[in-house]
Symmetry: D2
Subunit: 132 residues, 4 copies
C-alpha cells in the first residue's frame, strides 16, 4: 500500500467542468513514478541506467464521480500480480475517503536493445514483492 | 466506420522515446470529437446547447507497438453497443495498415442539471445507429 | 514569496529526453493555483462562485537548463505589478538551488457575463498586495 | 509562410470553458513540427539521426480572444530571425480570418554530445532561409 496525494489542477479539467478522463491516467502514472522512486527504480534510473524498460501494454480506468478543480485526491497503488515477464498494478483514487475512480496498468519487461520481452529483472521482482 | 488521421507529436512522446500511454486516450478522444461533429453532436453543441452530457465512465487501451514522433496514424471508431442510457465505442489505431493499438470508451447519458443517468436522447440514439 | 514544490514527471518530458517546453507553463500555473488557494481565491471558488475571471493575456518563459524526469523543482512566485485591471506574476524555477527557468504571466480581470475588462475586485487586490 | 490547420479539442480547454493557455504552446509546436517535416528536418530525423538538437530557450504568447472547443484555427509561422547559433519563429493564430493569438519561440542549436551551442548546421540554415 503506497499512498500518493495530488490535487486536480485547472489543466486536468475541460470545458465540461470536470476532469478530462485521460488525465486520470496521468495522475495514476505519477503515483507509479513515486512508488518506483521509493523502491529504488525511479524513472531517472529506469531511463538512463537500466538495460530494461517497463512499457505499459494495457491500461484501464473507471470513473465513479465527477472530479473538479481543487479536489484533493489520494491514490493507493496495490500490486495485483507479479508474473514472469510482467506485472499488474491497481490504483484506487479517493476524495475525502470516498472512492472516485479506479485504474489498472499492465507492464511488461523488455530488453532495451532487442525490444523483446524478458523476465522481470530479479532486483525489480524482489522490490515489487516487498510492496505486495 | 469513421477514419480519423493524426500524427504522433513531440508532446505525445516521453523520455523513453515513445508515445506516453495516456496520450493514446487523447488521440482516440479527438477521433470521437470528429465523429460526433460529423453526426451533429459536436462538443461545442454538447457543452453549450444540450441539456445532457456524455461522461466517460470506463476507458481502456491496449498498446501493441511502440509509437514514435512523426508516426502517421489512422484511428477507426466503431460502435460496439448502444444501450438504454449508455453506449460503447471501440477504436482501432493503425500505422501503415498495421494495428498498433486499440481502445474502448463507455459513455453514459446524464442530465446536466440533476447529474442523474437518463435515456440516450432519441436524436443522438438515431445518429449513433446510423454510424453503426 | 511563495514556494511551490514539484517533480518533473515522465509525461512532462518528450523524446528529446528533457522537459517539453510547454509543460513548464503547466508547472508555473500549478504554483499559481496553489498561491491563489492560499490567499482565498482558489480555482474552485474562482470558477464556481466569483463573477469575475482572470484570463492570461500574455505568458512567457525562459529555459536555462535542460530538465529531466525525476528532477525536483522549487517554483517561487513574486508579484511584479498590480495594475488597475491586471496583474503580472513572475516565476523562478530552481533545482538544487540553481535557477533552471523563469516565467511571467499577465492576467486581466474580466466580468464573466460581459466578458469585458473590469477593475480588479478589491478583495483580490488586497489579497495580492499582501503577497507582494 | 506556412499554414497549419488545427481544431481546439476538449482536452485543450479547461473548466473556465476556454483554451487553457499552455495548450496554445502545444498547438504552435505542432505547426513547427509540420514545417520542419516539410523542409526535411522532421522530428523523427532530428531526434534519431541528427547530431544536433534545437531546444527552445524562450517562448512567449499573447491571447487576444477566448478560444472554445471546436474552434477551427489556422496557424501561420514566419521566421523572424536566423542568427549564428539560433533562430526565432513567429506564429499567428487566426479563427475565421481574425487573429486570436500570437506566439514566438527562440531556438538554439546545440551539439547533442557536448550540449554546447554550435552554429546552425548549414543544411538547416539553408532550409530555413528558403522558408523566409
Amino acid at each position: 500500500m503506497f499512498p500518493h496525494h495530488t490535487v486536480v489542477r485547472l489543466q486536468d479539467t475541460d470545458a465540461a467542468g470536470i476532469l478530462y478522463f485521460a488525465n486520470q491516467f496521468r495522475m495514476i502514472h505519477e503515483a507509479y513514478e513515486e512508488l518506483f522512486d521509493k523502491i529504488g527504480f525511479g524513472f531517472a534510473r529506469l531511463i538512463k541506467d537500466c538495460d530494461f524498460f517497463l512499457p505499459i501494454v494495457h491500461a484501464e480506468a473507471d470513473y465513479t464521480a465527477p472530479l473538479s478543480v481543487g479536489d484533493k485526491l489520494e491514490i493507493i497503488i496495490s500490486i495485483e500480480k507479479i508474473g514472469q515477464t510482467s506485472f499488474i498494478l491497481n490504483y484506487r483514487l479517493t476524495r475525502a475517503g470516498q472512492v472516485v475512480g479506479t485504474a489498472k496498468t499492465v507492464h511488461v519487461s523488455i530488453d532495451k536493445r532487442t525490444k523483446g520481452k524478458i523476465s522481470l529483472p530479479p532486483p525489480l521482482r524482489e522490490a515489487l514483492t516487498k510492496v505486495k
